[in-house]
Amino acid sequence: MSKKIGVYVCQCGTNIGGKVDVAKIAEEIETEMGDVVVCRHYKYMCSEPGQKLIRDDIAELGLDCVVEASCSPKMHEPTFKNAVAQAGMNPYMFEMVNIREHCSWISENPDLATKKAKDLVRGGIARVAHHKPLTGTRKPVTPSALVVGGGIAGITAALKIAKAGYKVYMVEKEEIVGGRMAQFDKTFPTLDCAGCTLTPKTSEVGRHPNIEILTKAEVTGVSGFVGNFTVRVRQQPRYVSEEKCTGCGDCQGVCPIDVVSDFEVGLSNRHPISRPFPQAIPNTYSIIRSGQPPCQSACPAGVNVVGYMNLTGMGKYDEALAMVRERMPFAASCGRICFHPCEAVCKRGQLDDPLAICHTKRFLGDRELAMKSFSHPPVKEAKAEKVAIVGAGPAGLSAAYYLALEGYPVTVFEKLPAAGGMLMVGIPEYRLPKEILNAEIENLKTLGVEIRTGVTFGKDVTFESLESEGYRSFFIATGLHKSLSLRIEGEETQGVIGGTDLLRDTALEQVKAKAEGKEPATPAIGKRVVVIGGGNVAIDCARTCARLGAEVVVLYRRTRAEMPAWDIEVDEAEKEGVRFEFLAAPTKVISENGKVTGLEYLRMELGAPDDSGRRRPVPMEGSERVMDADTVVPAIGQAPDTSFLEGLGLDVERWGTIRTEEETLVTSRPGVFAGGDCTLGAASFVEAVAHGRMAAESIHHYLAHGGLRPVKPVERSVPEELTQEERDRARPIQKQRMPHLSAEKRGGNFHEVELGFTQEMAKAEGERCLSCSLCCQCGECVKKCGPGAIDLTETEKIREIDVGAIVVATGIDIFDAKKYPEYGFGRYPDVITNLQFERLCNASGPTGGKVLKPSDGTVPKSIVFVQCVGSRDRAKGNEYCSKVCCMISAKQLSIFKHFSPDGQAYVFYIDNRAGGKGYEEFLRRAIEEDGARYIRGRVAKIFQERDKLVVRGEDSLAGVPVEVEADMVVLATGLTAQTDYMTVARALNLSTDRYGFFIESHPKLGPVETSLSGIYLAGGAQGPKDIPESVAQGGAAAAEALSLFGMGEVEVEPTVAMVDSIRCTGCRTCVGLCAYTAVSFDEYTKTASINEALCQGCGTCAAACPVAAIGVQHYTPDQVMAQIEGILGG
């Protein structure tokens, strides 16, 4: 049965009518489309006469449906739905077509715009024929509000809502509320003290029982709808308890870090722990930290590098070492052999050289060993549960250290005759003296750790035997000691000795000889040694053999650039006489009488890159050569000793390593954990230590609480790019160079090559740290804080908050004056912005309220104010007027005149804009009473001449160029959108204009509403405005929220999914798709079923239904298909 459709095309004055020929559309539609019984056009359909046209037609012509073609439905859909409802029509029998925003306003060609509009109208007509009467439901409003931004607009909104008796959550990005106004000194046009008017408000916000302030917090997302939002908020820690902090300020005195103060707009420094000003709300201290610094993130053990480097810089070596030891028990060893990934990412490296982190750590370790002391945190109360550790390498010993500190009785079982694992038998003496390593291992024993060497697990002891001895948990860290074979002919010949075997034999011989007081016997190597491989083990073997007097060649199949060994190691090897043969791969070991006499090898060339990104070596056919050799040392990698693993009953990976859970290191056997190389494959010392500590935590949790420990959240990272602020902060100290034993002194002995840093060198390196994380977590403030209010282990929190209304009052930022390089901001210290001038005037500012030149602290005699810096300037991308700068300059020159009555102020202006109550009179006084000279014209250039700044511009009224000498120049910088406006816009689905200001729903009649019902705007976030306007908007936004709360209920559209149970085949495709679990499978009817209370109407289920059995009401497939046909059928 066909329906009677009425169509109404709005001219919207010239907004639509100026581009789209609405009369033509109306005429053609009426003749072409059968169901259309009436099609009218009118100048303003939204006006009362316009609406009456529709109402009358419904009554007189008995229309079934109505199509309205005008502006966006986001604008007037409610108006028209209401109009048809008044005439007795179900509002869902109405369809709105957008021919303004989507057509007339964006089209250039009137004919094509008319054609487009007509297509859209046809689509609407086709669609509306399929509409069905629907009834919405009503849902209660959550009577609480979220205010985003704690400036004066947000404060006003929050107080008004709170005072009406509703809960308010105030989310503020900074550590205090007050916003920009907190930075100002006085306000125009009354010269009231900004602080005196603001702080009563901030205190009220702080103590109001209905207001909960969330500082250092950001909104990350919102779901739901008007009256029923769920907001996701991410809150960075303050690290200082608001309950415990007394505001005494003792913490500030001991903080070693100075960073530029944002609150003081760069005029002075602050410590990361501070309180911006005495009346700040919350009135407690807090710590700013930009995240985990790259060095700490890169460190597998997660050592707080920035912390101990800064402590070293302060000369607090004991504290620095304690900080290292929180995550790395072996500072002296680590400082020698770590591959220090921290240094590769150190942000100082972007400026000059990265910090010598590793060498500094070695100094800290060596210093303590030299003093023959060992400091460690106090051992906790002794526990009964015994822990067995298998393998006395870095992983096992680290686990032993941390478990011993927890109070557990720990026994370490080691197969070899000496403890230390690869540190002992893999790293040669000249890189890590056994004496140093042994001293660090001896330290462990003082904690009660028992190390039993020469005990093979699986043979001498087993799980069962140890369990019967009372061991409750196990940590397997047996390492990777078998050399990978070359798989070439002749590998079994005498004279072929695996790299790790060579190093181990050499080391054990040295240990044994030392114990017996003898000279170590020379291992069985010949005079001409070929080492095969390009990693650090290969270089260690080469340098070891060179020390034993052999002629050494290293054979590597790629080139030097691809070598995984460290550059410094290769350099030192070359100095020691080791020769390198690149692009060569062995093919056969040549022997005579069962002894090696040479090595046949093949020349290689580099082909396409492989999976590792390195170019793959490709053999060159027929390039075989033979190299004389009596010893061949393959050092191409290590493998786990799988024979030992087989008997353990633990799951293993494909490569023979033990299978563990990455975060907890638990194996397939309860109570047994594993870590280090035997789980990772050939890894590094520091990764092994990291595993040791991780295992200790897991074992402690397992023994103390049972089960697996929870995984801790990861702190966000410091931004990678070096900032200007960090450049400025860097102390001009050169990188310290490690002194080396000269090459000629190395032959025939194993003396350590790197000689170590002096105290001065270590301290200098510490001072070079940029502290890019801001707070370095050195812990000095924690020790100083009497009430124990500081907790540096706090982590960011994610909260979900249910609110009915949201007020967005995120405020403004200040235009970056550096975009006018000709004005010299940032180059001349006495060229400042007007916000900096506010801080100079402010009694709590850096000069205590005196207007002084930043360069020399003297009183300026003349000041030039430059207007429109970043406003009304198309070239800089800011065409708009910032609205407040004319008045700010008038106010500031007035303050200057009061401070320095002899002073002279000049203002270069474009137009004086003083629209506002009392504004013009105030400006007049600045000119007449304060004697300011106003010069109309733009400033071309500011430059320094002797001790004066010269401002060159044009007096456009007189038509002459002018130059004014000044002691200080104040740039009246414009207001811009917040730099992170996009984050807020994305989180809340707000639209912005091209400058980043949020768009209100109507420029005249909806100044605080947005296109999203229930979300309101206030203050500078919507566009530049002064304090009274921000306050007024804050109040208006509060009124919107309150009227919503007053209604108590909102209508929820009936646009939920519906299942056609006859079509539904019960395939259940839809069930798993629903993000709200609103779709379930009805076992009785064997069809899908929708829970309407949960359904949000997104239609994902409908789109997936293979038989089109689901449709969202009012967006059914019939309706959309008809709309497509209608649009394209014209």
Partner: protein
């Protein structure tokens, strides 16, 4: 650019992001080529592949589906489902003889009105280059 050929493009816009961006582009008077016909949907995840095929069958020269950026979906993850469906649909359309470039999925946030206008203009021009869409009948 002068061409007599004016393609018709159907754009399914998410009510919460791209539709708002399209409105904002209008408010900002960002000039757009007049070839796009917008159909408002609640979520890009609501766009049944059948709608896209229907549009081509009814004579559309191209189809755009625009939704919220991944992670920003008003309905948690509808856009992700749209993304997965689009990948499949893309292959299906190719099989059906619809050239690459005639079907597109874009993420356009409410705040990205300049991007919306750019996408519209760029897509229109590239479809103009492709020429009118004609169903290529498969042999057999």
């Amino acid at each position: 650019m002068t061409t007599d050929y004016e393609p018709k493009i159907i754009a399914f816009l998410c009510n919460w992001c791209s539709y708002v961006a399209a409105d904002a582009a209008g408010v900002s008077r960002f000039v757009q080529l007049p070839n796009v016909r917008v159909i408002r949907v609640f979520c890009s995840g609501m766009v049944d592949p059948g709608y896209v095929i229907k549009a081509f069958a009814e004579g559309a020269d191209a189809v755009l589906v625009a939704g919220c950026h991944p992670g920003d979906c008003h309905y948690i993850s509808g856009n992700i489902k749209a993304m997965r469906r689009a990948a499949l649909l893309d292959r299906l359309l190719t099989e059906m003889g619809v050239e690459k470039g005639r079907f597109r999925l874009e993420w356009i946030a409410a705040s990205e009105s300049p991007k919306y206008a750019e996408v519209i203009n760029e897509m229109t021009r590239s479809v103009q280059k492709l020429g009118p869409f004609r169903v290529q009948r498969c042999a057999g």
